[in-house]
């Protein structure tokens, strides 16, 4: 039954409640479900990560202070110090002083 057909006031209120509930769920789903891995560069200079994802290698240049989301379904990353690491897609890579840490 569409909301417009509900004559009584209290029913209308419930109807609006449902609408807002749906809207809230949609908002939460849209806002909240970002869960790729992210990389943060806390240094003053640009750092580069080499990301291997889906069969191709790409250079991911991070400007000073930049945060980038990447690697949603698992990937390999070459860190600035030459270390190779695997990521599942939920980690945060933090670069400071040229050293990357995975959290």
């Amino acid at each position: 039954m569409p909301c417009e057909m509900q004559q009584r006031r209290w029913e209308h209120r419930y109807c609006n409640m449902w609408k807002s509930l749906v809207a809230a769920v949609a908002l939460v789903a849209a806002v909240g479900s970002a869960n790729a891995a992210s990389a943060v560069n806390k240094d003053a200079e640009t750092r580069t990560l080499v990301v291997t994802e889906g069969g191709s290698k790409t250079d991911l240049a991070l400007a000073a202070g930049e945060t980038v989301e990447f690697c949603a379904n698992g990937c390999f990353v070459t860190l600035p110090n030459g270390d190779l690491e695997a990521l599942t897609g939920s980690e945060t890579v933090e670069i400071s002083g040229g050293v990357a840490r995975i959290k």
Binding site: M1, G32, A36, F76
Partner: protein, 829 residues
């Protein structure tokens, strides 16, 4: 997020820390757990071999679509495994890096040399790290290679499909007399294979066959009979019913297609299962039997569906209002089409297995597609409706032309040699058409159930309203839920079915379902169905747990503990809010939603909240204060401003007060916090009632005092302590004023007491002849005639005039009496 992290931590802990912790404890940090690198190397080697095998298999099965899909699934699994094996090194790498940092860089040329133990350890760590990096690099290479293979498979499959549709065969070769001899050869082979299997089975496995058949039959019978018992009234058309409703026609059509088909499917499936179980089947016979089962299932389903929708025997139950004759023909044609397509499919399995010449395959497909095309054209030409004047009318134009063009297309494609294309189209027409029509009927019935009041009229609805306490609105909402559930079921059942028919492989659908469950990426946003669903489920569970806990606390603990109702109410509300908030938080984190990204939104909103929702927030906080401080409870008699009444409900934003006139007043909580609130029943219900009494001047005041006091004392509701008191309060303007002041245990009884006392006072005063003076306050305007000016002459004149009038009237009377005439009424003016 939380769950994912937990899971990750668990996996990592299992994989890494178990061997590591022992080693680390025994040998200190400096030593590598010797097994880790070797283990993972071995795993990766294993994965590489598997990948090699799969790559070879891709070359072998280049022509087989379903095998390719299967390989792709395995490759995806391998890719995940290689990533996992690389993940196993993370902790160790972190430890090595930390230790290296602690050791510091190697001393430069000019600096004093460091102790050997330090340089030795550094050396060991660096070499271990290099080793680990090389292993991870192997995993990386492997994953790149697997990705390449997966892409390759995708390309091969689309090429295969294109090839199937566009390949042209030379018909003149296929349709030579040679075909007949080939066919008879093949039939002979098939006959030999089957008969040899049959004789083998009867000789050695007769009992097993019997057992398997009987078990399968029993299962199908149980399903059919049980289904009939449960849903009998739902899916059997009642011939006695002259005018079945649209809804019942729909549901009968839908269920009478679905349930028997399911039963037959279960029978066939379990037959094959039990044959396999008892080892009755040989390899090729198993394939034949599978194909035969599919064929029988499809034909049965098509036949049931057309029968249900067109019901040639019961015109009143027909969904599509065609005439009886055409309905019969349509059922026959549709079934014939299904039979042709199914037999063709079955024969193709035999051809494959027997390795028969291509010409035979082409000839068979050619015949089948031509027949399907002709049937389609026949259906299009059918005139199923009758006009008012008795003439037959054709299908609506779009349907007619669609069917006609499909039929012509199939025939033309077959004649031109595009057998694959023609076969594909005719197969789609039969199977997809059937699935689509069933799904459409299901959708229609779901919509009909969802209509207002429709569910209450169904048999389930009637049963529910008779056997449960559901009201009409609840039933209506239930109908809505049922309709949504039916829709969902249809999508879940028929979407994969149709996708399957359209050449997608089960593996494709499985991969999609996996993706859908774990999360689809759109940009950097991942939407995961399972995440959201699990969040909702967790929230619902939390909500009901809270409700249950609330009920238990309120009903069992606090009621038994003789806790005051107001306190009970406050505690229940507080527990409810806390529980729901907690459930929401847990649900959100279970849904994998990162609350930190919400914090940004919250920060942006807080300014808006500060301004726009000021009142609401202040009311909310006030509500919490009301619950904590409890200036009044539910059931109290309060006076707030000009509102006086009983508190009915304290909720988050507002408090509901019922006045004694039974008017509900909703007071915002902030009003109750910021302004003074009088509460008659705050700590106790004790209260004083004052009753004023006035007696006339001259009465015996001592006696009056005594009488009033006695009345007050004798009333049962009046408390002995504090004592009732009679105050001689004033020498009033008209009366000597007294006031009876009595205390009551429950001030709510004030009205009863006042009535009783006043009646008693009046009675007693009457007995004792004590006057209660009344001072009429109302000003009554009495209309006086206008005063003449005081003038003696005038009065005299008036008097004389009146005398004269009297005399004249007397004279008149006498005169009238003499003449004997009746007295006339005076003139109106």
């Amino acid at each position: 997020m939380l769950f994912r992290l937990l899971r990750l931590v668990l996996v990592l802990a299992l994989v890494v820390s178990a061997p590591l912790s022992f080693d680390a404890a025994a040998q200190g940090l400096g030593q590598a757990p010797a097994g880790l690198v070797a283990d993972q190397q071995k795993i990766l080697q294993d994965l590489t071999t598997k990948t090699d095998n799969l790559e070879k298999k891709i070359q072998q099965d280049a022509e087989d679509d379903s095998a390719l899909v299967d390989i792709r699934l395995q490759l995806e699994e391998l890719s995940r495994q290689s990533l996992n094996s690389a993940l196993a090194f993370r902790t160790r790498l972190g430890e090595i890096n930390n230790r290296l940092e602690q050791l510091g860089a190697a001393p430069a040329a000019g600096q004093p040399p460091e102790p050997d133990i330090v340089s030795g350890e550094r050396q060991a760590l660096v070499s271990e790290k290099a080793e680990i990096n090389s292993v991870i690099a192997v995993a990386q290479t492997l994953s790149i290679r697997i990705s390449g293979l997966i892409d390759n498979i995708g390309n091969m499959r689309s090429a295969l499909f294109r090839n199937l549709l566009t390949k042209r065969y030379v018909l003149s070769d296929a349709l030579s007399p040679q075909v007949f001899s080939d066919a008879s050869d093949e039939f002979g082979n098939f006959y030999k294979a089957v008969s040899s299997w049959l004789s083998f089975a009867f000789k050695f496995k007769f009992q097993a066959i019997l057992a398997a058949t009987f078990v399968a039959l029993g299962l199908a019978l149980v399903l059919l009979v049980g289904g009939r018992r449960l849903f009998g009234r739902v899916f059997e058309a009642d011939p006695a019913n002259e005018n079945p409703s649209y809804l019942s026609r729909l549901s009968v059509a839908f269920w009478s297609t679905l349930l028997p088909t399911l039963a037959v499917g279960a029978f066939l499936g379990s037959t094959i299962f039990f044959f396999n179980y008892y080892n009755v089947l040989r390899g090729d016979i198993g394939l034949f039997l599978n194909a035969l089962a599919t064929v029988i299932g499809v034909v049965f389903c098509v036949n049931r569906l057309t029968n249900a929708a067109l019901s040639p025997r019961l015109p009143t139950w027909r969904l599509i209002p065609v005439e009886t004759g055409p309905a019969r023909w349509l059922v026959r044609l549709a079934t014939a089409m299904a039979v042709v397509i199914s037999v063709n499919t079955f024969l193709s399995v035999i051809n494959d297995k027997m390795g028969s010449p291509l010409s035979l395959t082409i000839a068979r497909s050619f015949v089948a597609t031509i027949i399907v095309g002709i049937i389609l054209i026949l259906m299009a030409m059918l005139r199923p409706f009758k006009a008012r004047d008795g003439s037959w009318r054709p299908w609506p134009a779009w349907l007619r032309y669609l069917s006609l063009s499909l039929g012509l297309f199939t025939i033309v494609a077959a004649l031109l040699g595009y057998i694959g294309l023609a076969l594909f189209v005719s197969l789609q027409v039969v199977v997809t058409g059937t699935a689509l029509i069933t799904a459409y009927i299901g959708f229609l019935s779901a919509r009909a159930i969802g209509d207002e009041g429709a569910f209450a009229n169904t048999s389930v609805g009637r049963w529910l309203s008779a056997n449960s306490s559901y009201e009409d609105t609840a039933l209506d909402q239930l109908g809505l839920v049922v309709s949504v559930a039916i829709n969902l079921m249809i999508v879940l059942v028929f979407l994969p079915l149709i996708l399957l028919m359209w050449g997608f492989q089960p593996g494709d659908i499985q991969a999609w379902a996996y993706k859908l469950a774990t999360g689809i990426n759109i940009g950097s946003v991942t939407i995961s169905v399972t995440g959201i669903l699990s969040g909702i489920v967790v929230f619902v569970i939390g909500y009901f747990l809270t409700r249950w806990f609330q009920g238990w606390l309120d009903g069992s603990v606090m009621a038994r503990g003789k806790v005051d109702t107001g306190v009970r109410n406050s505690i229940r509300l507080a527990v409810g809010y806390a529980g729901v908030a907690l459930a929401a938080l847990v649900g959100i984190s279970a849904a994998g939603i990162d609350l930190s990204s919400l914090a940004l939104v919250a920060g942006a909103l807080s300014l808006g909240i500060g301004f726009g929702l000021q009142n609401v927030v202040s009311n909310f906080v006030s509500g919490l204060i009301l619950l904590a401080e409890r200036p009044f409870k539910v059931g109290d008699w309060i006076v707030a401003g000009d509102v006086s009444g009983t508190v009915k409900k304290i909720s988050v934003r507002a408090t509901e007060i019922e006045t004694f006139q039974r008017q509900s007043v909703i007071l915002p909580n902030s009003n109750l916090i910021n302004n003074s609130v009088g509460n008659w029943t705050h700590r106790n219900k004790l209260g004083r009632i004052d009753i004023k009494v006035g007696v006339a001047y001259g009465s015996d005041v001592k006696q009056v005092h005594a009488i009033l006091l006695e009345i007050a004392r004798n009333h049962p509701l009046v408390l002995k302590n504090p004592e009732p008191f009679v105050l001689f309060s004033n020498f009033g303007a008209a009366a000597l004023e007294f006031e009876i002041r009595v205390f009551l245990a429950d001030v709510m009884n004030g009205n009863i007491l006042q009535n009783d006392v006043r009646f008693a006072v009046l009675e007693k005063f009457n007995d004792e002849h004590i006057e209660i003076p009344s001072t009429p306050r109302a000003v009554v305007e009495i209309k006086k005639p206008k005063a003449w000016p005081i003038d003696d002459d005038k009065i005299e004149a008036d008097f004389a005039e009146q005398e004269q009038v009297k005399a004249e009237a007397e004279a008149e009377k006498k005169r009238l009496a003499k003449t004997g005439r009746k007295v006339r009424k005076p003139d109106p003016d």
